[in-house]
Amino acid sequence: MGENSNSVLVIGGGIAGIQASLDLAERGIKVELVEKKPCIGGRMAQLDKTFPTNDCSICILAPKLAECYRHPNITLHTLAEVKEITGKAGNFKAKLLQHARYIKAEECINCGICIEKCPMRVDDEFDVFLRKRRAIYIYFLQGVPSIMAIDPEKCLYLTKDACRICEKVCEREAIDFEQKDSEVNLNVKSIIVATGYEPFDPSPLVNLGYKHLPNVVTGLEFERMICASGPLKGHLIRSSDRKEPKKLAFINCVGSRDMKYNPYCSSVCCMYTTKEAMIAYEHDNSIQSFIFYIDLRAGGKGFREYIERGQKEYGIKYIKGKVAKIIEDDDKNPIIIYEDMNTSKMKKFPVDLVILATSMIPNKDTPELANILGIDLDKNNFFLSNAYLPLDSSKKGIYICGCCRGPMDIPNSVIDASGAAAKAAENAIREG
């Protein structure tokens, strides 16, 4: 790639990275889109529905994935990571580590025969470990590129030099164990960081019983549980007795607005618990949901009306209360012990299933990436943005968008992404 190539590096293939890439590509600028996972789609692909419209998440995302894949100005680097950035605005040099997929991309037709035969059962990360996948797998059913990948840490051949059954059954001879991790070098004018977030693991909050009590799950787990293409095929049952829960409690601010863990507000939980309660009700009208909150934050467009609708049409009850502890009865029904903030009394509240609205936290490798990029982090380890130029990082030519600069919802991530694209384009042209 020549010195004068007018291209932009986009790091992260979630909705923000995708939107930024599509805007730039349509703008006539070449995009190098880097995604760590085998498929683009990010967190949004894991969601069942989205507030405040309750749109089916994958329905609205899938056309964008396909567009990204097909766009002549976008080069996708899946299973790739940024390892080194040198140079400055207008002339960055990026070094990527391209992990081996062990699949010939142009040969695989996603027929799934190899999956059937693979003997290795592995926890499925996409389905937040609620089901098993195989060592050869497609990251998610509607994933793009819609081809397999082999998990080198789990594959029998790659770990123990045995098996190779996928190779034998693949009619397309698409398996290629000879592939090696490689290095890709790129020259770009601007960089957009869109690496997203990860959900807070509530296990350290032992009082809430996550992982000890079978009927306490996280919001993202619940999202997969009610999703039609999720591990329960959308039929909501609880794991302890496979019964349909009828009384749900959502606990907001788990791991957020909490000085011990994350002091900040995670921005989206008030809305997403409302949404999850609504979907649960749509699945089964006899479900009643209770949402425990501190402040109900619904400042976005149509958000307040959404919460009102939740109360009126879906019978959702909001309880202003601080949860102290969750225990369970003999039938494994969770019992919430909380302080009612309207009366300041301690109360007990038995339910069938508890959903913890866990906070968004920065990706584990954010500090490392910040180091590679030479940009600053804020005190919470999100990328630091300029107060009145919110898409600017601390370094010229590098822009940040979406949840990697702080918790935000999908519309704001999309706005950020388009905005970062505008800034990256401006930089590419001015520094060109």
Partner: protein, 551 residues
């Protein structure tokens, strides 16, 4: 009459189709269908070998219709269409039949029945292909100019970005100067920078050689479509026309004046915006200050939360504390809206600074008495009394009264509170359904400065995807009105989700090719059946129905 020569390629997809359907019998069957001059099977139609075979056979047999029966058109139609094009065939003369995802994979234990189904599916494909018409993509010239309506922080930011990308920008503002609401602010949250510092962008805008700023100007008429809008604007000395490729709406919002609420009087009981002015002039000389949140918001009349008032109140409270550390400030609120990292931290700092927060419930609103406020506190389950020297009412941003006129001119919708309604709340937050028109800042929804700036960049980005092109290529499979049949009832104009249909001077509906997305709604609705939806014509669909096995 055109001599139709059809080629049918049936894919085994390895064993994915071949393992469950009797592919050779499908080939034989296809050969019996009308106008099929060539039929064969392919191990993998999408492989290099498969694709070159299709190309080769098109040339060898002079095929002018091509059918591939394989997987789903959602993933593979673009590939096969491009192969047809490479072989010199109009890509719209290609038809795809899905015998894998919707046949072999879902009837795995019924080879016979599934093969029969596949035959019918192929027959339906042939029936449609017989009636396929070559279509051309439309080319639309794009005027590489951006018109931005509204010169507040959002409009100025968008203008500057587009100008820096070397586009020509025209920025119109109805007031005599640029700056919008930002001009009236004292300091900004969360950094306490002077608003005037952020307003410095105004100089860059006014002096940018690519930006033409026209103040005291308002649009009065808007015509045209993506790439080619004509906007008539009114200035003091008359009406002028502006030609532009795209339009960005950045007209902002207004602060609600709380006439008749909580004893508002503009002197001791004022709005946050009036407080900003007092702060600017350093005229705060009272001790007990009470702020009331959600004044005129989250009620029957305005159900919405205005998004920015909590932070505004917190900021002004903090600024007063900085100026007068001994001031007693109470904020009476319903829910504190401090989303995200920095705002939540700011809220915490405000509490640390000794600002008092008292929650009220809408059933028992605070009562303003002569020198004190009475408010019911549910936590204590009693009324408490707070003395005041000054009350500051946090009122929402409300839509500009002229939004309605502008929306009508642009033919774009407003939501129930009269803010502009975007194309899609989640994924097209700054686009309108009508192509080439965008929205940002508080015209869309109450936004603070950082939000308005992000949105302005976003709108600029969306706009740049259009005006960076000399010509825009649009889909050929769109709607067309038969002028002889159209009676001008206008129903199609109303129902088109994209404003792609308009009435011409003769009272006949006309489709703007550039705006049509080919959904087909108009064709299914037209009372006179005067609309053809190309590539999904009534004739083609009826032919598919007839072939679908109902005999």
């Amino acid at each position: 009459m055109e001599d139709i020569k059809m080629g049918v390629f049936i894919c085994h997809c390895g064993t994915n189709i071949g393992g469950f359907l009797d592919v050779p019998s499908l080939v034989e069957y296809a050969k019996t269908l009308p106008n099929v001059t060539f039929a064969t099977d392919n191990l993998y139609s999408c492989s290099e070998v498969g694709l070159s075979l299709i190309k080769e056979k098109i040339e060898e047999h002079d095929l002018n219709r091509v059918i591939v029966a394989s997987c789903t058109p959602r993933t593979h139609e673009p590939l096969f269409r491009s192969i047809c094009q490479e072989a010199g065939l109009n890509p719209y003369l290609f038809e795809m039949v899905n015998i894998r995802d919707q046949c072999s994979w879902v009837h795995m234990k019924e080879t016979e029945a599934a093969t029969e189904k596949a035959k019918i599916l192929i027959e339906m494909g042939v029936a449609k292909a017989l009636l396929l018409q070559p279509l051309e993509k439309f080319q639309i010239d794009i005027n590489p100019t951006a018109l931005i309506i509204g010169g507040g922080i959002a409009g100025m930011t968008a203008a500057l970005n587009l100008a820096n990308q070397e586009f020509k920008v025209i920025l119109i503002e109805k007031e005599p100067e640029l700056g919008g609401l930002l001009r009236y602010l004292y300091k900004l949250y969360p950094t306490h920078d002077d608003a005037s510092k952020v307003l410095e962008v105004r100089n860059l805008v006014e002096n940018h050689q690519k930006i033409k700023v026209i103040t005291s100007t308002e649009p009065v008429k808007i015509e045209g479509f993506i790439g080619n809008y004509k906007v008539s604007v009114k200035r003091r000395d008359g009406i002028y026309d502006i030609d532009t490729g795209i339009i960005i709406v950045a007209t902002g919002a207004q602060v609600l004046k709380p006439e008749g609420l909580f004893g508002y009087n503009g002197s001791t009981i004022i709005t946050q915006l009036e407080l900003e002015q007092l702060l600017k002039e350093n005229k705060i000389n009272v001790k007990n200050i009470v702020m009331i949140q959600c004044v005129g918001a989250r009620n029957e009349e305005r159900r919405y939360c205005s998004n920015i008032c909590c932070m505004t109140a917190l900021k002004n409270a903090m600024l007063i504390k900085e100026l007068k550390p001994d001031a007693n400030i109470s904020i009476i609120f319903r829910d504190i809206q401090t989303q995200g990292t920095t705002y939540e931290e700011y809220y915490r700092k405000a509490r640390e600074k000794g600002i008092t927060f008292i929650r009220y419930i809408p059933e028992k609103v605070p009562i303003v008495k002569e020198s004190n406020i009475e408010v019911y506190n549910d936590y204590l389950n009693q009324d408490i009394s707070i003395p005041y020297d000054m009350i500051v009412l946090s009122t929402p941003l409300i839509a500009n009264p002229d939004s309605e006129d502008l929306a009508k001119m642009l033919k774009v919708p407003l939501e129930e509170n009269h803010f502009f309604l975007e194309a899609h709340v989640k994924l097209r937050p700054v686009d309108f359904a009508t192509d080439g028109i965008y929205v940002c800042g508080s015209a869309h929804w109450p936004a603070d400065i950082p939000e308005a700036i992000s949105q302005a960049y976003a709108a600029a980005s969306r706009a740049s995807t259009i005006i960076s092109k000399d010509v825009l290529e649009v889909e050929g499979a769109i709607a067309e009105v038969d002028e002889d049949l159209c009676v001008g009832c206008g129903i199609c104009i109303k129902i088109c989700p994209y404003n792609a249909i308009s009435m011409d001077d003769n009272g006949i509906a006309h489709v703007t090719e550039a705006s049509c997305k080919g959904c087909g709604l108009c064709g299914a609705t037209c009372p006179e059946k005067a609309i053809t939806n190309h590539h999904f014509t009534t004739k083609q669909i009826l032919a598919q129905i007839l072939a679908s096995g109902g005999k």
